[in-house]
Subunit: 103 residues, 2 copies
């Protein structure tokens, strides 16, 4: 049921930007905040959300905290999406749509 968290996490543009930045390479909070139009605490709060959605992971390194991409959340979301295609009921719906195109 984490796909719900993933959806809300990625629905926010700032959070998406943070996530996509981390996709390039792991980064600390301070570094992330520099590439962002928002304050450092805001970034911290966003990272908290991303973490609970299993989209990122923390690696504390002494003073600093390195944030790293984690694919678990994305996998959950992908699975949720794929259920829409594999679903037999979905197929029924597609059939209706097809019928309508022919009219």
């Amino acid at each position: 049921m984490t796909y719900a968290k993933v959806l809300t996490a990625l629905a926010d543009p700032t959070r998406r930007h943070i996530f996509e930045t981390l996709l390039e390479h792991p980064m600390t909070v301070g570094e992330l905040a520099k590439n962002q139009p928002v304050s450092r605490p805001a970034v911290s709060q966003h990272l908290k959300v991303l973490e609970s959605a299993k989209l990122v992971r923390v690696k504390p390194q002494g003073n600093r905290r390195l944030y790293i991409i984690k694919h678990d959340g994305l996998n959950e979301l992908r699975q949720y999406l794929e259920s829409f295609w594999s679903d037999a009921l979905s197929a029924y719906s597609a059939e209706i749509t097809q019928q309508m195109k022919n009219k």
Copy 2:
């Protein structure tokens, strides 16, 4: 760039419920509202959002309006998600994660 709209559209639980209900079979607004804890106008507003995210389609039938699932929005979102895997930069990130597991 519609994937953003799709994400916000599916981030809302009520909207997800409406969408998943339509997945079973096409339905009118009134029918949808009956299976929902919210009012009919609320459903109408949600359908508007789902429509602009290319997740549903309307088929006016005389007095009523039949709403039908549309896969375009989901396809856009899926494409967005897949870019995270195919991305070379993502691969780099995955490598780092792997290195960390070994520690």
